[in-house]
Amino acid sequence: MLPRVFVTGVGVVSSIGLGKDAFYRALQGGQSGISPVASFDASQLGRQYAGEVKAFEPRDHLTRAERRRTGRCSAMAVAAARMAIADAGLDPSRLAGPRTAVVLGTTMGEAQLLGGLEHDWIVHGPDAVDRALIPRYGSTLLPIHVARAIGAQGMVLTLPAACAAGNYAIGFAADLVRSRRADVVVTGAAELMQELQFSGFVRLAAMAPERCQPFDLHRQGLLLGEGAGVLVVESEEHAVRRGATPQAEVGGYGLSCDAYHITRPHPDATGSIAAMRAAIERSGLTPDDIDFVNAHGTGTKQNDAAESKVMRDVFGGRRVPISSMKSMLGHCMGAASALEAIGCVFTLQTGVYPPTIGYQTPDPECDLDVVANVARRGKADVVLNNSLAFGGYNAVAVFARPGALPPPAPYLGDGGAAP
């Protein structure tokens, strides 16, 4: 029999709060983390707002030696991992060794560090490049730093699945536990916003001026954000043995690829529909079992229209409540679906759906039950975390109240159109 996989701890570094308690309060209160960009000069870039993490100080979370070898993105990941482990009540001695793995997602990892190196090279020449900084670049490093911080000696893996990276990482982490290749996996994602990404999204004409308004008729695009969301996932027997309280159960997940366009979702959303159906089917459920959808909801015309199509197709006439945390956080890219997964855990634990703030005018094309502006109480046994990404990636994960899912079983279907 396959073991159930539980989330037993979460850690958050975000623009709306550090740590689970602050983050949950902000989600409940519909707090915005959007402010004028301060980490670089955006005055000439055409857009000036983002969800930057302003309160995070690496020295509050990392030792001096750790800070000396760690870029800011990894520092956020390490801090969130430490919070998650504390939240899980895990004794560090239980984590040390080869049965603990670290699987993290990101889009660009230490892109800020790379940006600095490139700046020195391009502006001042190759001799100006600080060779001590070179080894600190690489998305490979995120799980390495986390593994060192917690004593993990198993698999250290980065899944750079762009804006769906969190769901990819959490899904694969659950696979490692389910297949008994690990007892505990520290998973999630981290992303640091930097100038190149910011300029890139402006040039793609995808960025809103000041507000991200998912599913609103007058939505003008996304805003960028940053942060880290880390979850401790472990097998039921491991959690029970140490007397841990599970916060959520990780169900099945669905992955697919549009094979259509590098940045735009497929207008028919066939891949996204297949991924959502697969996540539900692989959890042993039907669409009727889903209580709430934590949306990808970027606030771009195309994404929200495609996502609405997915909702109509998968749920038929049933209007399942849906909400986008990106209205508060901005789009935290690689970290987005990890933070949203923690949002799912919040919903399962509190029975509260986080709101989509800034929602004013319904869009007929997005005919959805949007949790508008204020948090809403509702049934929360099983929730879906939807994500899409550059590359035509679709990744959907199911989270549930512990025990609410049928016992996990090997998938015996032929896949059909649903991988």
């Binding site: 000696q153 250290v156 696979d175 190149l196 550059f390 015996l412």
Partner: protein, 382 residues
């Protein structure tokens, strides 16, 4: 793990493009007919023109890494007979995916955009090149070009990534997320990459850096049998390990303990005895500390001093593609005729005598930060 079979190969490398050319190039290296390229100089794939394989249209926005990968994907799909004449033959797009590693992303695209942003104006960066800056872009483009609609996963674990991609693919195939997966790695040389290794002084000891894309078509034996595909070899075991340096301040770390555990776990996963290993296709690249740690780890895990080869002597360190090049080299060794092994000590043999047509091959990769991965491959379909 339950054994998976390799039913096709797609490769773009400095010693050849396509399965046959790669095998010829590797055999030439094994037979010591080709001299090792000079140390220090990057090993570029000279004369690579993606349009030869992909036609002229749609290539303008792609970077080198993407072109290498798309060509390798196309070659692998055809070599595995999943496609014939660019049309799906024995499978369908929803059931074929790609799991591919790269270590550093597209430094070419990032540098290009950074140059515009720093020297001109960030508002002028080319939006069609911006998507290339994310590490999964090459895999995304491979899916668009080849219509791969099942799982599309990019993996990053430095030099170990391509072997880790096999572990990921194994999980996805086990869960029936695809019937066949193209699995391996890609890395492209770029000014930034070369500068970084030069600045680190890493090219002085005889190390070479290189580039390439290597993919194998991987599937469950029953899936391959159902579509009548030939199995070139099996993958039977995987292991990985991370061991941090003792010194808190250290970052770069060559860990023989990690290699030892990764190899031991891979053998256990394959239910293989250390004595079964006929040859080790290593990640030895000319970086002395890492080479020594790797060999020491292999020796302790096997309790012997096996024959060790180093494809990187002729391919260079291809980072995220390194493990894939190791797997492809293992395939060549398995089919190498006996005469090939009897010609003295070719440069790619690090130690020992290469026996002809090895049955069990261990492939190892060592990361720069204390990580290591290993794979066990067996000749034939069992």
């Amino acid at each position: 793990m339950k054994p998976l079979v390799i039913t096709g190969v797609g490769v773009v490398s400095a010693i050849g493009v396509g399965r046959q050319a790669f095998a010829d190039g590797m055999r030439a290296a094994i037979q010591a007919r080709s001299a090792a390229p000079p140390a220090g100089r990057p090993i570029e794939i000279t004369g690579f023109d993606a349009s030869t394989y992909l036609g002229d249209k749609g290539l303008r926005t792609l970077d080198r890494m993407t072109k290498l990968l798309v060509v390798a994907a196309r070659l692998a799909l055809h070599d595995a007979a999943l496609k014939r004449d660019a049309t799906w033959a024995t499978s369908r797009p929803e059931r074929v995916g790609i799991v591919v590693s790269n270590a550093y992303g597209s430094l070419e695209a990032i540098t290009e955009l950074d140059r515009v942003a720093k020297l001109e104006d960030a508002r002028y960066i080319n939006p069609s090149r911006f998507p290339l800056t994310v590490s999964n872009s090459a895999a995304g483009y491979a899916s668009i070009w080849e219509d791969l609609r099942a799982v599309n996963v990019s993996v990053s674990d430095g030099n170990c990534g391509a072997l880790d991609a096999v572990a990921c693919a194994n999980a996805f195939l086990e869960q029936r997320r695809a019937d066949a997966l193209l699995v391996g790695g890609v890395e492209a040389l770029s000014e930034a990459l070369i500068l970084a290794f030069e600045r680190l002084g890493a090219l002085r000891d005889g190390a070479r850096i290189g580039e390439g894309a290597g993919l194998v078509a991987l599937e469950a034996p029953e899936s391959a049998a159902a579509r009548g595909a030939m199995a070139h070899a099996s993958v039977t075991g995987y292991g990985t390990a991370f061991v941090a340096p003792d010194r808190q301040g250290a970052l770069v770390h060559a860990s023989s303990a990690a290699v030892e555990r990764a190899v031991a776990d891979a053998l256990a996963d394959a239910r293989a005895d250390p004595r079964d290993v006929d040859v080790v296709v290593s990640g030895v690249s000319g970086l002395r500390a890492f080479d020594e740690a790797e060999i020491a780890g292999i020796d302790s895990a096997l309790g012997a001093e096996p024959c060790i080869v180093a494809p990187k002597v002729c391919l260079g360190e291809t980072f995220g593609a390194g493990g894939a090049m190791g797997m492809l080299s293992a395939l060549v060794l398995m089919s190498c005729p006996p005469s090939a092994a009897d010609r003295g000590a070719p440069a790619i043999v690090v130690r020992g005598a290469l026996r002809a047509q090895p049955r069990t091959v261990l492939v190892t990769s060592v990361g720069y930060y204390g990580n290591a991965s290993a794979l066990v491959m067996r000749a034939g379909s069992r």
